[in-house]
Symmetry: C2
Subunit: 178 residues, 2 copies
Amino acid sequence: MDSPTPTEALLSAPPFEAGDFAPLDECERGVIEMFVSAADVLGFPRSLGELYGLAYISPQPIHLAEVCERLQMSKGSASQGLRTLRDLGALKPVYIAGDRRDFFQPEIKIRVLVGRLLAERLRPHLDRSSGALGALQNEADSAVSPQVKKFRQERIEMLGAWQKRISTFLPLLQRILR
Amino acid sequence: MDSPTPTEALLSAPPFEAGDFAPLDECERGVIEMFVSAADVLGFPRSLGELYGLAYISPQPIHLAEVCERLQMSKGSASQGLRTLRDLGALKPVYIAGDRRDFFQPEIKIRVLVGRLLAERLRPHLDRSSGALGALQNEADSAVSPQVKKFRQERIEMLGAWQKRISTFLPLLQRILR
DNA sequence: GCCCGTGTTCAAAAAGGATTGAACTTTCCG
DNA sequence: CGGAAAGTTCAATCCTTTTTGAACACGGGC
């Protein structure tokens, strides 16, 4: 597989082994780039942005072999990435009769995407810290001086207020993103 | 500075060189831990969480030497971290007459904090991608088949709608967080 | 001028994540 | 029962970010 005809070498420009899937065109690359950038903003690895981006701009459901070749990504990375996105609810499995491969379509309802994201990211943090807050209140009581004690109580109380605010804001956000 | 009396050695437990500032107590550690966790959620380095957390729970403005010793952080890290947080608007410089050191207090208005964060993180991405969207529309026009062309136009249009939605949502968020 | 306190810079080291690739499992089909 | 196709797993590797530490700048005060 290392001896393409001169014509092939010129036409199928990309210098990697030939395969069954077309290389990305300009438009696909552009869309994927935007999702990579978005993934970056959200602190997700680049590969997740690529995977979702490809799914988003693909008229047909995508599958492992396709993304490996078109995104030039290892099978391991693609497999894990697809699973992560499925667990996140960003990619939905699509059953195709008579085909053993696992196909995926993107979830495109922004409300669902954001909801899952918040549940996955923010919830755990909120839960952890709201649990810790009570203990902190007690710690503050054993402060060195009365002034410091009062200051700490205020600050910790404010922390609680922030959390409550955020907690009440999340459902509201869900409703807004309809 | 390496020969404390036996009593000192036992009382000032922590096994690092003695200094001018008290080690963190339980309460301070707990609060800082929460901000470290929050920094993690937001994708900021741990040290930024520590710095802001210490500032938040400190009745007095903090300064470089103090954070180095109390957080066991190198001068370089602390210096850069303080600057980053100042640039982000999360820490405010405090001038103290007759003292050459740079003191900082935390910004505690959540509206300001969130505003700066969005401006810093989301804006650049939104600007970049809204610029790219136009070009993508054109790319889509040169699609292979009419079906694909239509599909791509729809998807890219939806991308634009998402962005617009987010853009209009940000000012609203600002008003909600009052 | 010289020294000391304060803070910055930046090359190098360390740490932490992401990616790879090869071995492995499972399932289907002949 | 093979064997091929599809997917998973995970230790090793790679890469990016963070942190360190030492050298450097700056600014008074003596």
